[in-house]
C-alpha cells in the first residue's frame, strides 16, 4: 500500500481532537505491579487476616475468569463455578492419589477446567441470552451432581479432604499461619493477570471483544464468532480451573459448594461491583465484596447481606461501570486538572 498525500485536515474537528484517548481499561503497565504492591503491603499490614487475603486472591482469579467470559466475550453465564469446582476437584484428586506438588495441582486444575469448558462451550454456545444462561446453570448443576455421586473420588457431600500440598518449589512449606498460602496465591493471581492481559491484547482477544460488539463484523473480516467464543470460554475455564486448584492448595479441602450456583452468582456480583471488561475490576470487586463481607459479618452476622445489597444498588445506580470506572473517572479528572495547570 502506498501513501496518500497529506491534505488540509478537515477531520480534526475540535470535539474529536479534545476527546480523551480510549480508556486503557486495564490500567496499562502500572496495573499489575500495583496489584502486587498492594498485595504485599497487605501481607505486612494485615498479618492476622492472611486466610481472608488468600481467599480474596484465589476468588479474584475466579472472578477474573468470569470477566474474560462475560466482560470481554459478552457470554452470559451463571455456571462459571462448574469450571472452578472441576479444577478444584481435579487438583484435590491428583494431590490425594498421585502427586501433591502445588504447580502440578494447578496444572491439573487448569486442564480440567479448560477441558470441561471446551466440551460444554462447544455444545451450548450456539445459544444466546436467557437460553444460554439456563444452559450454563444446568452445566453447573450437572458438575455438582456428578461430584456428589462420585463419592469414592470426591468425598461426596462430606467434601474432599486430606489434601496436603508439598512445599512450593520444594522449599516453602505451607505453614499454619498461612504465609506461604497467601504469597503463593498472590503470585498465581499476578501471573494470571499478566497472562489475561496478554491474551486480551492479542489479535485473538481483540477479535473476541469484536464478537461481543458485533459478530457479523467479525465474520466479514474472516473470523468465526462461535469458534472465538468457544476458545475464549475454554481459556476462561483454564483460569477458573486454576483458581479452583489454588483454593484446593491453600485450603486443603474441596466441597460441593465450589461448583454450586451460589458461587457463580456471587462471582457475578463481585464482577459487577468491580467493573466488567477491565481485568482489574475483578480484583477490586472481589476485594471490596469479601472485605465488606468480612467486616459486616463480624459486626452483624444476620444482616450483612442486606448491607451488601444496598452497597451493590448504590454502585449500580451511581457507578454503572463498577468501582473501577469510578477510579477511571477520578483519574480522568486529575489528568484534566493537570492539563489545565
Amino acid at each position: 500500500m502506498t501513501s496518500v498525500a497529506e491534505r488540509p485536515d478537515p477531520m480534526s474537528d475540535p470535539v474529536s481532537r479534545h476527546t480523551p484517548p480510549a480508556a486503557r481499561r486495564d490500567l496499562g503497565w502500572i496495573g499489575i505491579p500495583l496489584v502486587a504492591a498492594v498485595g504485599l503491603a497487605a501481607y505486612w499490614l494485615l498479618p492476622d487476616d492472611l486466610a481472608l487475603l488468600t481467599r480474596i486472591a484465589a476468588s479474584a482469579l475466579f472472578v477474573l475468569s468470569l470477566d474474560l467470559v462475560l466482560g470481554y466475550g459478552g457470554i452470559a453465564t451463571l455456571g462459571q463455578a462448574a469450571m472452578f469446582g472441576t479444577g478444584a476437584y481435579a487438583a484435590g484428586i491428583v494431590a490425594v492419589n498421585w502427586i501433591n506438588d502445588p504447580f502440578a495441582m494447578l496444572a491439573a486444575g487448569g486442564i480440567a477446567g479448560g477441558g470441561i469448558a471446551l466440551a460444554t462451550g462447544a455444545l451450548i454456545l450456539h445459544a444466546r441470552g436467557l437460553t444460554l444462561l439456563m444452559l450454563t446453570i444446568a452445566v453447573g448443576q450437572i458438575v455438582q451432581e456428578v461430584a456428589n455421586k462420585a463419592r469414592d473420588w470426591t468425598g461426596g457431600s462430606d467434601g474432599l479432604s486430606g489434601i496436603d500440598p508439598a512445599p512450593v518449589l520444594g522449599l516453602f512449606r505451607f505453614d499454619m499461619f498461612g504465609r506461604t498460602s497467601y504469597l503463593f496465591a498472590l503470585a498465581v493471581l499476578v501471573a494470571g493477570l499478566l497472562v489475561a492481559r496478554r491474551i486480551m491484547r492479542s489479535p485473538f482477544g481483540l477479535a473476541c471483544r469484536g464478537v461481543r460488539e458485533d459478530p457479523l463484523r467479525i465474520s466479514a473480516i474472516g473470523g468465526s464468532p462461535k469458534s472465538y467464543l468457544v476458545a475464549l470460554y475454554a481459556v476462561a475455564g483454564v483460569f477458573a480451573g486454576v483458581a479452583g486448584a489454588l483454593t484446593a492448595v491453600t485450603s486443603g479441602i474441596v466441597g460441593l459448594d465450589s461448583a454450586g450456583f451460589p458461587w457463580s452468582a456471587e462471582a457475578l456480583v463481585m464482577l459487577v461491583l468491580g467493573g466488567t471488561g477491565r481485568l482489574y475490576g475483578a480484583v477490586i470487586g472481589t476485594a471490596a465484596f469479601m472485605g465488606i463481607h468480612h467486616i459486616l459479618a463480624a459486626s452483624d452476622p444476620f444482616h450483612w447481606m442486606g448491607f451488601i445489597g444496598l452497597f451493590l444498588i448504590g454502585i449500580v445506580l451511581f457507578l454503572p461501570g463498577g468501582i473501577a470506572s469510578g477510579l477511571e473517572r477520578l483519574g480522568g479528572l486529575l489528568r484534566r486538572k493537570e492539563d489545565r495547570a
Partner: protein, 237 residues
C-alpha cells in the same frame, strides 16, 4: 511459470434476498483480475444486497458466484473472507469500544503486527489517531479504518458499499485517491455517480434486482440519456 491471476469474480444468475423475500432476481456480471466495477442504480434496487450476498449475509435462492473459479455459495462468511473477499459495509463496521490500533489488530488474521504499518502508510491519519477509540473518530476516519482493516486481511477482491456516504468532498477525494492506488479487484457501490464512474472501468446498472445495463464506465459517463434512464439523474457538466 507466471503466478495464477487472482481476484476474478463471476456472478451467474444470482437470486437472493432476506429470508423468503427475493431481492436479486437472477443477476449476472463478471469482474476480471484487477478490474474495477461500479454497481449503480436507484435506492432499493439490490446493490447492497448484491454485496451482502457475495459475503454470505443473505439467503441465496439460486445461481452462483465464483471467486477465481471457486464457488462461494457453500461457504459461510468467514470462509469467503478467507477465500479472498474483503468487505467494507455501508455502516462503517468498526468496533467502537476498541482503539484504532486494536481495530486493526483484530483484522490481522495471523499476519504480524508490523503489517499495521501498511495501514498507517495508506492512511497516515490513522497512525496519528492509533490510540483513539473507534467511537472517537470522525466519519471519514471511521471509513478509512474500515477500509484499512479490510485490506489487512489481504483480500483479492474488495467490496465497497457506499464508502463516501456522508463524507465531506475533501475527505471523499482522500479516500478515492487511496482506493485508486490499490492493486486489486474492486466492486464499488456508490451514490456519487460521477466519482464511481471516474473510478471504475466497467459499470453495471441494477433495477428491481436485475441487471439492466452493463458496459464500460467511460461510455456510460458520456451518455446522459443512459444515466437519466437508469438513475434518474444527469451528471453535472
Amino acid at each position: 511459470m507466471p503466478a495464477e491471476p487472482v481476484g476474478s469474480l463471476e456472478v451467474v444468475e444470482l437470486r437472493a434476498g432476506y429470508g423468503k423475500t427475493l431481492i436479486l432476481d437472477g443477476i449476472s456480471f463478471a469482474v476480471p483480475t484487477g478490474g474495477r466495477l461500479a454497481l449503480l442504480g436507484r435506492n432499493g434496487v439490490g446493490k447492497t444486497t448484491t454485496l451482502a450476498t457475495l459475503v454470505g449475509q443473505t439467503t441465496r435462492h439460486g445461481g452462483g458466484m465464483k471467486l477465481d473459479g471457486v464457488e462461494l455459495g457453500g461457504m459461510n462468511s468467514s470462509g469467503r473472507a478467507a477465500a479472498g473477499l474483503g468487505y467494507v459495509p455501508q455502516t462503517r463496521d468498526i468496533f467502537k469500544s476498541l482503539t484504532v490500533e486494536e481495530n486493526l489488530v483484530a483484522g490481522l488474521k495471523g499476519r504480524p503486527r508490523s503489517a499495521l504499518e501498511e495501514a498507517y502508510a495508506l492512511f497516515p491519519r490513522l497512525g496519528e489517531r492509533r490510540r483513539n477509540g473507534g467511537g472517537e473518530l470522525s466519519g471519514g476516519e471511521q471509513q478509512m479504518l474500515s477500509v484499512a482493516r479490510a485490506l489487512l486481511g489481504k483480500p483479492t477482491v474488495l467490496l465497497l458499499d457506499e464508502p463516501l456516504e456522508g463524507l465531506a468532498p475533501v475527505i471523499c477525494d482522500t479516500l478515492m485517491a487511496a482506493l485508486s492506488k490499490l492493486d486489486m479487484t474492486i466492486v464499488l457501490v456508490e451514490q456519487q455517480v460521477d466519482r464511481a464512474l471516474d473510478f471504475a472501468d466497467r459499470v453495471v446498472f441494477l433495477d428491481r434486482g436485475r441487471v439492466v445495463h452493463a458496459g464500460p464506465a467511460a461510455q456510460a459517463k458520456a451518455d446522459p440519456a443512459l444515466l437519466e434512464r437508469h438513475l434518474g439523474v444527469a451528471l453535472a457538466a
